[in-house]
Amino acid sequence: MHIAIIGNGISGITAARYIRKLSDHQITVISSESDHFFSRTALMYIYMGHMRFEDTKPYENWFWEKNRIELKKGFVEKVNHQNSELLFAGGEKMKYDKLILATGSASNKFGWPGQDLEAVHGMYSLQDLEAMEKHSDGLERAVIVGGGLIGIEMAEMFHSRNIPVTFLVRETDFWNGVLPIEESKMIGRHISENHIDLQLATELKEIIDDGKGKACAVITSKGERIECGFVGLTAGVHPNINFLKESGIEIQRGIVVNDFLETNIPNIYAIGDCAQMTNPKPGRRPVEAIWYTGRMMGETVAYNVCGKKIAYDPGLWFNSAKFFEIEYQVYGTVMAKMADNHEAIYWEHSDGRKSIRVIYDKNTEEIVGFNLMGVRFRHEVCEKWLKEKTNVDVVLQDLAIANFDPEFYKTHEHEVLKIYNQKAGKNLTPKKKRGWSQAFKFLQS
């Protein structure tokens, strides 16, 4: 059986690897972006000079031949499912028995005037990175539009080369659709202390042409004109599925798939950023452009392709990111606007770059989520507490076993407990210490 996979990102590659583990089928991975799998999340580090492109490849080049995974560089223009055939730009054709679509995302553009000018780019692909590089020499200011994770990464990239940045964010506080207000304010402060010109509640109105087809300035919703040599469009991403419009594969926002990642056409599957779940699990969105969901889908689809039906279930919500120097982790349900039956314990370090937020259910006293800034927590421990709906008293007394900061770091769990004691009129004391032994015992229990 020949399995073709379009897209060599984390989803497609994970699928290929697991199919190889499970079977001897012929596997072809197709990409027009790069010859080999690289970690998209590390693109920023290439620009910042932390890593070379070669260092972003999780597998050495011999890996693919050794595991009999064929790599094909090419751009698929059409999927002809009646003949089980792919049509490439340039006219080449390829037969498949099963097809996995893992085409990822593309940057959003909302019809701004001038959005297709030169020096206007998103930050998603290797080609975007090259464009940034090309326009960086002698760049005197960059404007970034859209305050999400990619926007702040782009700001950090330019900042690393001492290029001044103006950061236009539609919301009144940075990423406040996701982060609770204290954390949102903290990141806002941190962006400003890095000398980024953060303009909140400001949108892009127009990008100005310098007369030669290149962007030279932007005009904001407040009417201000900002001169700049580069405009970064980072207002989110959407599934990269344009080429499938006439294919007969059902498409809404993304490629519509059931629990087994099957599309409406037999033998065609979709995974990763480009897939849209018909029945997302409670608390999850239909389209999730996240690294680990792509990886989980890749693994799940491999079983389904190889004839062992397994439903996709991403489990409890978690995520992480880094905003300049502040690391961010979240486990469980943490909403920007807390549900009415929830209560939060929030502790913030006096330096304003660290915080711990623990959220629980007021009525049942069950733990529901953790939100962390500048502090690392252990995934497995948090997950077990959340899954078992542990009582918040128990969690806070044992909180140290969740701490994943390096050795000798100051622990702050007792301060969280102190705040809780005051709030709830209790007198609880810490019961456990940080470290693998206690965490392991808990996980085994």
Binding site: T56, Q329, P406
Partner: protein, 625 residues
Amino acid sequence: MKLIKNIGLALFILALTIFVASLTLSNHTLTEAVLSKNISNTYHQEMIKQQAGDLMGKEFGSNVAFINAFKPVLNNSLEALDKASGVDRANGIWNAVPEKLPKGVSENDYRMFPNTVDDYLFSLTKYSAGGLLPGNSNWFFLLSFILAALGGLMYLLPDLNLIPGIKNNQIYDSPATRGITFQVRMIFLGMTILTSILMVFFKYLLIGILTIAAGIFIIYRIYKTNKENNVSFSKTRKATAPKGLGWIGISFGIFLILFYVTLYFFPEYITNWTLMLDPISESLSGNTAGRWFLYGFLYTMVMFVMGIRMLIKYRHNNYQLIRTGSVMFFQTAFAFLIPEFLLRLNQPYMDFKNAWPLDYDFFFEIDKMYGQGTEFAIAGWATSVGTMMFIWGIVLTLIVVPFFTYYFGKRWYCSWVCGCGGLAETLGDPYRQLSDKSLTAWKYERYIIHGVLVFAIVMTGMVIYTYMTGSSNILFLDSYNVRSWYGFFIGSMFSGIVGTGFYPLMGNRVWCRFGCPLAALMGLVQRFQSRFRITTNGGQCISCGNCSTYCEMGIDVRAYAQRGQNVVRASCVGCGICAAVCPRGVLRLENGTVDIDNRVTELKTVHVKSINFKDGAFSLEGNEV
């Protein structure tokens, strides 16, 4: 801020220039006073005077001219004394004929030997110096050593104004730290090997031939590895690959290599540096400064300044702060000051933290431990202090090292105590990203480092045999020769010239990764029976590769992290940088007893459906249909 940095850099470059130039700023005249002060042996003194003839009292414009003139004089003196004592190599007479020696004088007191020639050449060059530098050595000390340190600190301290966090911006764009392309690396290896061959040809033909063979093999291997991993995505991007020449790095590497070659094999050319350090050496040990004092002083100072750099860079990270403070302390106290004080107290020179086989002199020359750079030797082990040291050496090696490694992993030594590790973690920190992460490199690493370990074990066994039986021949090998091979190949070439000189070329832990026998030994303990491991944090890894890039030991940390697997590797020195640079908080260095036999977990399945945490491994509880 930028201005202060630039002034600091300028001062450092100025000081470095003065430092190098100071080697030429002397003229040399050998007077009778210098001769009698530096050579106490009257037979040698007389013979050298006789052989020197007109050259006595003559002024030489540079140390090179002086050495060119007096090296033959000293060699002729050796020959003449040999002849006078009845040695006749042509006719197979290798030892002195007792009747020909003056009455009551032993052969060793009468004859000169090659190492005597080396010692005399060093001290005569040093103390025959006059002119600008010797007359103003204190000023030159301030303008080179101290000014360089101050310039360095001025360059580093303004970084305190930056927001604490990972600061690796533009490492791969800088010509100092970007590394080199593999062609340049091959040229480098070739040149280093060629230099060593030229040097060795003067002494041992066999070793020269072996070196050529090893060199050709290394070059072939690097060529082949690079061909296997050929870069196929070849579009050039500023930070894609070391496109330009890392010329500052290359210059720095060449400087270090030349420094080590001179220090080990031609110390007579750098006597002016030791002249500047005489006051300090005398105040510490009471002796004048020899080349090893120069080396120790420089080493400690560099580690101190670059240690401060490390402390500033990682001031948000307590593990790095404490660890760096620890290596700085052990270098200053144990490697530098305590041995000097021991000499002052007329005790054997000893670095109490050096276990077998790093301090091989200690085990192999237990009956004659020399004070550094001086002529006085003490029958160390016969004294009570010497006995204590000998016992401490054995306890350290057989009990302390395995015990601590069991509890904490080899990091307790390699990145908290060791001098080589200390230099690698301070001076070498800007180069940690240049280590080779390929599977091929790992394969060769295991062969080479365990090869050195076997070499060290065999050598120790032979020395003990010789010590017990008095016979130096075992099968076809002479235990003395094996030791000098080890000293040349492992001690000088590998740990010094390649180990440090290759920082900007192949990363900062070349010696620790490929050569150190103690690291190999502790690695075996760490791999098979230790509480130490690096754990990974569930499904948070995004495969970005920062951990692998900044692993100085060339471990592909990402390969473990992205599978949720614990890192249990013999080579890991526990520097903790992988955990520090991880943007998602995925890695943690930990010690744990609860699962000591299950540290090497099977890959936790990434698709965490529900955690089934039995026997230390996750397993998939899928909802099969």
